[in-house]
């Protein structure tokens, strides 16, 4: 199987089956949901949530080539 996928770094947030009138809207919806998920948590609890979230999303992506690219990108500059 030839490799077709690479890490998508273009804006890719959308709400299925809903017409979006403003380009920023879906991304902002996600960002707010992300911050709200952490509401009321201690820093340590938030770290746990983030670790679990990364594992869930990694499994959703599945493609190890893409995941390795994402891991590299995240490590950059840190």
């Amino acid at each position: 199987m030839s490799r077709t996928k690479t890490l998508n770094t273009e804006s890719n947030f959308y709400q299925p089956n809903q017409q979006v009138f403003r380009a920023y809207r879906a991304g902002d919806d996600f960002y707010e949901a992300l911050i709200e998920t952490h509401l009321g948590l201690t820093d340590e609890q938030s770290q746990q949530v983030n670790a679990k979230l990364i594992l869930l999303l990694a499994n959703q992506v599945g493609d190890l080539d893409v995941l390795r690219e994402a891991l590299d990108a995240a490590r950059q500059g840190v």
Binding site: N8, T9, E10, S11, N12, F13, Q19, F21, R22, A23, Y24, G27, D28, Y31, E32, L34, I35, H38, L41, D43, S46, N50, A73, Q76, G77
Partner: protein, 557 residues
């Protein structure tokens, strides 16, 4: 201070109402001669409603205050006959740049497409805007601004549907009554307090310093927002130009700062120097330390009393969604008020003002709250995500789009409005029922050059056809019949050549942008509202459907 502008003083003139033996009654009274109250008055005059505006002061805004006016606000102001002077005087801009730790990370273009008369934004000191609106009101009959008239008592009598006002003046108090009261007296609305109405919401625990300086500088007219710059560690700043070499600087201070100390020039000047450089010559024009709230009234009317602008809703300043949304409130309200006053629509049409503008206010509150949360994160985790987004935005498009330094005022799509007629036919694009109409360059039969100059102040039916001369007789008859109803609809034929028969108004879609933006084909029609919103659209002309849609759009159905 105040070297850039000298405030005009408007004379208090004693009104005959003050000497009348009996209570003088008026159809419409507006409280507050700020931008939104003045817009209400101008719109009333255009609709043929005599309006009295009461203001407790006798001048325009002291200090520049609100400075960013959006394309949609300018379209409304153009309909009211005063945008041109503002655009000519203001600083036109559309680019925003965002910096993180002194590095440019992203920029945005607020109007990437050509073919709109009004610019994406202008920056103009609020005093000019108000002054031009007062000047405009002098040109119109039926607007009476009463300066130094302070409302002290409001009696909103639900049984009689009459509102009685007690007003304090330099000659002492007097009373008048009115059928309708529009309240535009700002975020700390005294009328709202007098009526005991609440405005629920949240205060953000952060302080910001606005410093307007006069400075000769050749920065481009762009909005520069800086997260965590080296000269103001851990906080954010904003730089924006205004007319007359006045620059708006905005510093995030943090909640622990003492507002009184921060407003002292000796504390402001070092901050300005840190930002602009030691060698820049400037004079301090105006400064203010502010906190803000995000809140709105649960309902924008109480009987015959209707709230508009900041009196009804208050947002954070990031995104310029305050005054700009206020103009859209009165844009929405006045044509409805006219129909109800004339007995052509039921009171429920005023409720639709609440439904539509409360929806828009919620969207403004949502967007401005999100911007505030990004600019001023409330927790360590929130700050980490914010800074990670900014880090990633140096390299990645998706992160650039998540950077939120203010989602600048745009018109709400009123898709949930009870006045809308849902699509039966398939359409692409954004011109859905409830959308603000897109402008486009046209050639009108009275030499109009822009669509929104033609589409305004009345219900209209846009009928798209390639060659207007080929419009058949039966269609022409149907179009003309629409002008005969109790609420007339003006037909406008949109074509690329020819002239419609029997004197039906024809405009040429010279760049074919109207038909593109409205996804129009031969025979497509749009019913549009006096406030330049789409009410309904069809692929073929059917008078009965249009008539039903007009009834829906006026609560007559």
């Amino acid at each position: 201070m105040f070297k850039a502008y000298e405030n005009p003083v408007y004379d208090y003139i004693k009104s005959p109402d003050q000497d009348a033996d009996t209570l003088v009654h008026h159809p419409l009274v507006i409280v507050g001669a700020g931008p939104v109250g003045l817009a209400a008055g101008l719109d009333a005059a255009i609709n043929g409603i005599p309006a009295i505006i009461l203001d407790d002061n006798n001048t325009v805004s002291v200090g520049s205050r609100a400075v960013c006016y959006s394309k949609r606000a300018l379209e409304v102001l153009d309909r009211l006959g005063c945008a041109k002077r503002m655009v000519d005087k203001g600083v036109i801009w559309k680019m925003g740049k965002v910096f993180f730790k002194d590095q440019l990370v992203t920029s945005f273009d607020l109007l990437p497409e050509e073919g709109h008369e009004q610019p994406a934004f202008i920056n103009l000191q609020q005093y000019y805007l108000e002054q031009y609106m007062v000047d405009r009101s002098d040109e119109l009959d039926n607007i009476n601004i009463r300066w130094k008239n302070r409302v002290t008592v409001v009696d909103n009598d639900a049984d009689s549907n009459i509102v009685t006002l007690t007003i304090e003046t330099p000659d002492g108090p007097y009373q008048i009554s009115t059928d309708w009261l529009i309240v535009a007296d700002g975020a700390n609305s005294s009328v709202r307090s007098m009526l005991g109405l609440a405005m629920e919401g949240k205060t953000f625990e952060d302080r910001f310093l606005i410093a307007d300086i006069i400075m000769k500088a050749d920065f481009p007219s762009e909005r520069w927002f800086s997260f965590d710059p080296s000269y103001h560690k851990g906080q954010s700043t904003l730089l924006h130009s205004q007319s007359d070499n006045v620059w708006r600087l905005d510093f995030q201070l943090g909640w622990d700062k003492d507002p009184e100390e921060e407003e002292k020039p000796e504390n402001i000047i070092p901050r300005v120097k840190a930002m602009m450089g030691d060698n820049v010559e400037f004079e301090l024009e105006w400064a203010s330390v502010y906190t803000f709230m995000c809140r709105r009234m649960e309902r924008f009317r109480q009987g015959r009393v209707i709230f508009v602008g900041d009196a009804a809703h208050q947002v954070s300043p990031f995104g310029a969604r305050g005054a700009n949304s206020g103009f859209q409130d009165t844009d929405n309200l006045l044509w409805k008020l006219k129909l109800v006053m004339d007995g052509k629509a039921p009171d429920a049409l005023i409720d639709s003002y609440c439904a539509e503008r409360e929806y828009a206010a919620d969207e403004n509150l949502l967007n401005s709250t999100r911007s505030t949360d990004f600019i001023s994160p409330k927790s360590n985790t929130s700050l980490q995500f914010r800074n990670a987004t900014l880090e990633l935005s140096k390299d990645y498009h998706f992160a650039q789009k998540l950077v939120n330094s203010g989602r600048l005022s745009d018109a709400a799509f009123l898709t949930e409005s009870p006045l809308n007629t849902a699509d039966e036919d398939a359409f692409e694009g954004n011109m859905v029922a409830g959308a603000v109409m897109d402008d486009a360059p046209i050639q009108g039969d009275q030499d109009e050059r822009w669509a929104l100059k033609v589409f305004a102040n009345q219900f209209q039916l846009l009928y798209f056809i390639d060659n207007a001369s080929t419009l058949d007789e039966s269609t022409a008859r149907q179009l003309l019949a629409m002008t005969q109803g109790s609420i007339p609809i003006q037909p406008v034929v949109v074509s690329t050549s020819g002239t419609a028969p029997q004197g039906i108004k024809t405009i040429q879609d010279i760049k074919r942008l109207l038909s593109k933006r409205y996804d129009a084909k031969n025979g497509t029609c749009y019913l549009t509202r006096p406030d330049q919103h789409v009410a309904g659209r069809w692929r073929t002309l059917d008078s009965s459907k249009i008539s039903q849609a007009l009834n829906t759009a006026t609560c007559n159905g």
